[in-house]
């Protein structure tokens, strides 16, 4: 091939610019700490990063929902714990009062205590979070029980998405814990009956109520146990999300991580290539200058 001076200069200019561009490309990962900063640099990488970002955002969000649900369950658990304690005390009291060693005066005095216990139970059943009744299910704007002890809340509750394709029951209807007058296992009715039996000094009724208290106590205890299972499930799901989140964070870090040794050596290589290109251009230019001086 016939080589002309303008061809030499044109090549020198083009090759030097190309080595400069390669050097710029090689320094970018080191400057930004990212494998690519534009999707067109590596479309597959951009897609993978988008997928991981999406998965991580979703896992963070699920964990937030689980935390919210667990805070609600904690409040329910506090109420349930107090309810079970109260029913234990009432059950013990019923056994005592059904015993022949107590007289009418003692029973009337105990009736006052039981009235207080009924008021406490009503307060527990009306537990609220931010003005919403926790035992009313979806009808959270209304108290779960009417004055007679009928459950007037929502017994269905709502599903809360806690993982992809997985929902948990987000509510704990009061009827599960305190029973419902309509179904005959009402805790409120048991206490009211207890109070009436004490006031009327009806030992036979009191003896019957010992069994009733065992039932409503067991009912509350079973609910507590069920709540515990739900909290365990929430904890397990939260851990799964945390594990997945950690895994995705690692994958994201690995995917986007710059191999600094490789990047530094590429930068050094392109730097040397650029320097070589510039000095070669200089030498060729000197040579051509000398030749023309001849």
């Amino acid at each position: 091939m016939r080589i002309t001076e303008s061809l030499i200069y044109s090549r020198m200019r083009r090759d030097t610019l190309a080595t400069q561009a390669r050097h710029d490309d090689a320094t970018r990962p080191l400057m930004t700490g990212q494998k690519a900063t534009r999707p067109s640099e590596d479309p597959a990488y951009a897609q993978e990063m988008a997928r991981l970002d999406r998965a991580m955002a979703r896992q963070e969000n699920y964990r937030g929902v689980i935390d919210t649900l667990d805070r609600k369950y904690q409040t329910i658990e506090t109420s349930l714990s107090a309810t079970v304690d109260l029913l234990s005390q009432l059950q013990t009291r019923a056994v005592q009062m059904a015993n022949g060693t107590y007289n009418e005066e003692d029973r009337i005095a105990a009736g006052v205590e039981v009235a207080d216990a009924l008021a406490t139970l009503t307060t527990l059943a009306n537990t609220q979070i931010d003005g919403r009744y926790v035992f009313s299910g979806r009808a959270e704007n209304l108290p779960p029980f009417d004055d007679a002890g009928n459950f007037v809340g929502d017994a269905v509750g709502r599903d809360i998405p806690v993982a992809d394709g997985v929902t948990l029951d987000g509510d704990f209807p009061g009827s599960l814990i305190f029973g419902d007058l309509a179904t005959g296992n009402s805790t409120f009715k048991a206490i009211q009956d207890f109070q009436a039996a004490l006031e009327s000094n009806n030992v036979d009724d009191l003896k019957t109520l010992v069994g009733t208290f065992k039932e409503v106590h067991d009912q509350a205890t079973r609910s507590w146990s069920r709540l515990g299972s739900r909290r365990d499930e929430l904890g397990r799901l939260s851990d799964v999300h945390l594990d997945q989140l950690t895994l995705n964070q690692m994958l994201s870090a690995e995917t986007s991580a710059v191999d600094y040794a490789d990047a530094a050596s590429r930068m050094r290589f392109t730097e040397d290539a650029y320097n070589a290109s510039v000095s070669t251009s200089q030498r060729v230019a000197d040579l051509m200058h000398k030749m023309l001086n001849l």
């Binding site: 091939m1 016939r2 080589i3 002309t4 001076e5 303008s6 061809l7 044109s10 090549r11 083009r14 990212q34 690519a36 900063t37 534009r38 999707p39 067109s40 640099e41 590596d42 479309p43 951009a46 897609q47 990063m49 988008a50 970002d53 999406r54 955002a57 979703r58 963070e60 969000n61 699920y62 937030g64 929902v65 919210t68 649900l69 609600k72 931010d130 919403r132 009313s136 299910g137 979806r138 009808a139 959270e140 704007n141 209304l142 929502d154 269905v156 709502r158 599903d159 809360i160 998405p161 992809d164 929902t167 987000g170 509510d171 051509m288 030749m291 023309l292």
Partner: protein, 459 residues
């Protein structure tokens, strides 16, 4: 054979004349060594026969028409890919989620807000967050659509600018054709004018796919479609039709006033074809994909929301305001005025009897995240992925092709330069050689004079 002294004088004189011409040619080559598009010249020297010496019968310009044709082909390919790359680069920031921001993140935050609200659907603060994220999503979609529209407009502006340049070059080529015809009529080769014309054709080759056909000493330049852009000494005028939301159309108007559409404008090649292809294929399809995603999401949300129950027990309204069809949906989407500042108007319940904490409709809204929506049947995030992927892949391919075609273009340019360019070394050697030949020719005349003197002294 007998030589007369006069013949010796003529031989020397003719040789000096030839060498002087050659010195002039070499000098011209040297002074034009850096003139863009200059093709080196060579004097054609022939023997005039006994007693006459040599003569210059013409001056040839060293150019290779095959290489010139190849140069046009590689120029149009480079022009096409580089213009396509430039046009798509404008759109890339719109879909770049690698910086931690972008549509995908906004979409995920919106569904995240709905999901958070599912645990407390009657909570006003949760509802405020849903509305804030819905507004952010609508704004992001508006911005993305505007960004893609701006990129389309920039490509259209680039195409319009290229058309102006094509028309200006076509006029110059037609003018040069006229000048070349005139000068060649006087017997001059007009190499300078041909060089200028070749230079313009090389520029034109980058702007559009052209074919150059020599006709009666002039040239005809046709577009890839076969329509004449320059026909001898008259130039046609290229103009743009369509634009806006419609695809770009091209029309070629001949000097006679006859106008004809250029078929498949995106296939016109060169920078013009690249800009049109980026605008009317990649960017238009990306915008349509974004519109489809926005429309599909908004339609589905509206269908659920307008049949659900709000916090006050009333029937819900539309969630998003959108146009009647998908076209322009991403640019126009907005949170419905019925709910935008009224968190209680968010309808998350399916039945008023279920109470204000009912989240049945809200769960259906959340479910849209993983449902295929719109005409494409893609989930919203898949729809956005498709937009990103389309632009990123097209840009990546255009960049790769632009680099490859630039290398081919530079190679052919080097071959052209190798054939037609001036080598200063070569010209200096030739100049020295011609100088020495000129001196030697003068010696012939000097010798003839001395011989004349010697003969005259004998008389």
């Amino acid at each position: 054979m007998r030589w007369s002294l006069n013949a010796l004088l003529s031989t020397g004189a003719n040789a000096m004349s030839s060498q002087r011409t050659m010195l002039g040619v070499y000098g011209k080559n040297i002074t034009n060594a850096s003139t863009p598009g200059y093709s080196r010249e060579r004097a054609i020297q022939t023997d005039m026969g006994w007693g006459l010496g040599s003569q210059i019968v013409g001056i040839d310009s060293l150019r290779d028409t095959t290489l010139q044709k190849s140069l046009l082909g590689s120029a149009q390919s480079f022009g096409f890919e580089s213009a396509r790359s430039r046009a798509l680069q404008v759109a890339e920031p719109v879909v770049n989620g690698l910086d931690g921001s972008g549509l995908q993140q906004t979409l995920e935050k919106f569904f995240g807000a709905l999901q958070s609200a599912s645990a407390n659907p009657s909570g006003l603060s949760e509802r405020e967050v849903v509305l804030a994220e819905a507004r952010a999503l609508a704004r992001s979609l508006n911005d993305a659509a505007r960004g893609l529209e701006d990129a389309r407009q920039a490509a259209a502006d680039g195409a319009a600018q290229t058309i102006q340049t094509i028309n200006a070059i076509a006029n110059e080529v037609a003018g040069l054709n006229q000048q070349i015809r005139d000068i060649q009529g006087t017997g001059e080769p007009g190499h300078e004018l041909v060089d200028q014309r070749d230079q313009l054709l090389a520029q034109l080759g980058q702007l559009a796919d052209i074919d150059v056909v020599p006709v009666d000493g002039l040239i005809t330049v046709t577009l890839g479609s076969g329509q004449p852009l320059v026909d001898g000494t008259s130039a046609s005028r290229l103009s743009m039709t369509g634009g806006g939301s419609a695809p770009i159309g091209l029309q070629l108007t001949r000097a006679s006033g006859f106008a004809q559409d250029v078929p498949s404008p995106e296939r016109i090649g060169g920078q013009l074809g690249g800009a049109i292809d980026a605008r009317d294929v990649t960017l238009t399809q990306s915008l349509a994909q974004l519109d489809d995603m926005a429309f599909g999401l908004a339609e589905s949300m509206n269908a659920i929301h307008s049949s659900a129950i709000d916090l006050d027990g009333g029937t819900g309204s539309r969630f998003f305001d959108i146009p009647a069809d998908a076209k322009g949906a991403a640019l126009a989407i907005a949170v419905s005025a019925d709910i935008v500042d009224r968190p209680k108007s968010l309808a998350f319940a399916s039945d008023v009897a279920n109470g204000p904490g009912d989240n049945t409709a809200l769960l259906a809204l959340i479910g849209l995240r993983d449902l295929g929506l719109g005409a494409s049947g893609l989930t919203p995030s898949q729809g956005l992925d498709a937009v990103t992927s389309k632009i990123a892949s097209a840009l990546s391919a255009a960049d790769t092709e632009a680099r490859a075609s630039e290398a081919r273009f530079e190679d052919v340019k080097a071959q052209v330069a190798s054939r037609s360019g001036v080598s200063l070394q070569e010209e200096m050697v030739a100049l020295t050689e011609a100088q020495r030949a000129f001196e030697a020719s003068s010696k012939v005349i000097q010798t003839a004079e001395e011989l004349f003197d010697a003969v005259l002294r004998l008389v």
